[in-house]
Subunit: 356 residues, 2 copies
């Protein structure tokens, strides 16, 4: 029996893996991406290298993009968003909206891979002066400079002598209501710290943190290397204020290990901004009537033992649309979601052929 | 075309999910488990509740076990180990050894779900006095008491007044060669701390840690609740020695936040032992000629963007056989591995029918 295609929404790492997996299992996939290119955040936000293994992000993502291109089972739609959905799986009628107009399609199952958005450090808190000082940037801005191959002080283009990362900006924060830990910022900050030390060997690099959450192999593969081989300085502390002095930014706070106040001028301050639910994730939850969990991400049901199933039959979610996720999470969840989506379609066609 | 079955080795959370998933996709699964029961470590080690959502572990695992029982596509073999393998996927001839004798079977693909083993705190380091003092126990021993519904001082059966957890025992440890962070011990210690506080409300509970790695939603769903609602005390510090004084054990070390030495008598000390490669994982790597990565777990290739594929075609690994993994990781990876294994078999039968 011919199934309706599996609709995969979002063509980042999770979405590309899901579409590829569906085709590998012999199911048609409809891969919908609102941007004009495939690859998702690693491409759209100009990531330099993939965490943790430091592979060039463009090379790594091109491999995934190439794997979905030209597969007769995968229908790729760029600059396309899902704007409406009616009916229940395995017969959901979706409206695809493109610059050229709207199209109706029937899909059998849905995998939402719409990811996250980076916390905007100018929103709700002005504490870090992100929009005020050119030399206060984010992990994302830093990544863009690293990719361009030139890490400089943004205000004057000079080579920085002293740089610091501030962890947990927009994460673990009761005041702004972002209660969660964003999971990957510790690893990404470490990775970028190493890359800065490699690119600008005379630049001192500091990381101000609450807990360094270098779980699993990140511990020795990134964190220890940052300390031992690249002499990155990790300071457990809280930064409470950033001000300007001459052409430097001054961070003020407390070194909680030494129990003393800190006031250090920096050439560049990098804010380790966390993950928030993306606009796309929120919209897809609404369109497909999938409830959000308490933090605002798409809710999966079944706790730790079922990571991708939503309360809407036939609708699955993978990666950072469901909460903070590293690349491994996104890829594994995408595979799991395809397995469930294909299993769902198979079960329904078996039931249909029995009753026929 | 009829495929050889997918061999799933190990019937813990990952293996049960993989076998279930294979059947959902219409593939036969051969589920091999060395123990006489299904369920893996949560059952064999008597887990009380699942982290993070505190569901009763027996109830949760029974749901997974029931889902594989009586499925005509799943051939369950208890008290069975794979002792040899010859040939290449999709035609690997494996030897299954049972108390009743050996059997040869042809399998098409392999998913190794042989998990981890808990670090033995008496091995290599005597520092914590695990085998010396009855009141020094592990996370696993504690879990067993919680499941039995009675948390007492093991040496005399009395109600403890003061209990502490020591994090990173057998993890993040250069001296013993376990370089990795075991990922889940922070969450499990928090969960057990809450359960002790609920079971013995007059007992003070302390957690000595280096970094509390409460990533994602564990931050507010477990860690904040432990502090706010259950008054668990978290102390950043290093414990260097455990001795005996009267009927208490005394921990000595340093509170690194306060910058002062600590010497506190405790009724029970709980060692948060980490994950190591299980004997089963090491053996399966050898039998199926899958290389180990530098920490001794089964190596997956492709970095963050391919979490379950090993260098041996058609052979996949999921969960803690590949490195420290939480339950979500194990379940997602199992789904991803089934997707890859089924895709592998499908690709081979398409190629075979083309050449036929």
């Amino acid at each position: 029996m011919e199934h309706n295609p599996i609709l995969v929404i979002g063509a980042g790492p999770a979405g590309l893996e899901a579409a590829r997996g569906a085709a590998d299992l012999g199911y048609r996939a409809l891969l919908v991406e609102k941007a004009p290119v495939l690859g998702g955040t690693p491409i759209l936000a100009d990531y330099a290298a993939i965490t943790p293994n430091m592979e060039n992000a463009e090379v790594a993502m091109k491999r995934m993009v190439d794997a979905v291109a030209d597969d007769p089972l995968i229908d790729v739609r760029l600059e396309t968003v899902v704007t409406a959905a009616e009916g229940d799986a395995p017969e959901i009628n979706v409206t695809l909206s493109t610059p050229a107009g709207n199209e109706q399609m029937a899909v059998g199952s849905v995998i939402v891979c719409t990811g996250f958005q980076h916390f905007d450090p100018g929103r709700e808190t002005q504490m870090y002066g992100y929009y005020e000082y050119d030399d206060v940037i984010t992990l994302v801005d830093c990544e863009r400079m690293l990719k361009a191959g030139s890490f400089v002080k943004p205000s004057n283009g000079e080579t920085p002598k002293r740089v610091c990362f501030i962890q947990c900006v927009g994460s673990r924060d009761r005041q702004i209501g972002n209660f969660w830990c964003s999971k990957v910022c510790c690893g990404i900050a470490c990775k970028e710290a190493i890359e800065i030390r490699q690119m600008v060997p005379d630049c001192q690099v500091f990381v101000f943190y609450i807990d360094m959450r270098m779980y699993g192999f990140w511990e020795d593969e990134i964190y220890w290397k940052a300390q031992d081989d690249h002499k990155v300085n990790f300071i457990r502390g809280i930064v409470t204020e950033i001000t300007k002095r001459g052409d430097q930014v001054v961070i003020k706070g407390e070194d909680t290990t030494m129990g003393r106040p800190v006031e250090v001028p920096m050439d560049v301050v990098i804010l380790s901004v966390g993950m928030e639910p993306s606009e796309g994730s929120t919209k897809m939850a609404e369109i497909f009537r999938m409830p959000l969990e308490s933090h605002g991400f798409i809710e999966t049901i079944g706790g730790a033992l079922n990571t991708v199933t939503t309360s809407r039959p036939g609708c699955f979610a993978a990666g950072a649309s469901t909460g903070p996720a590293d690349l491994e999470d996104s890829i594994s969840m995408a595979g799991a979601a395809v397995m469930k989506a294909a299993g769902f379609l198979r079960k329904h066609s078996l039931a249909a052929s029995k009753s026929a």
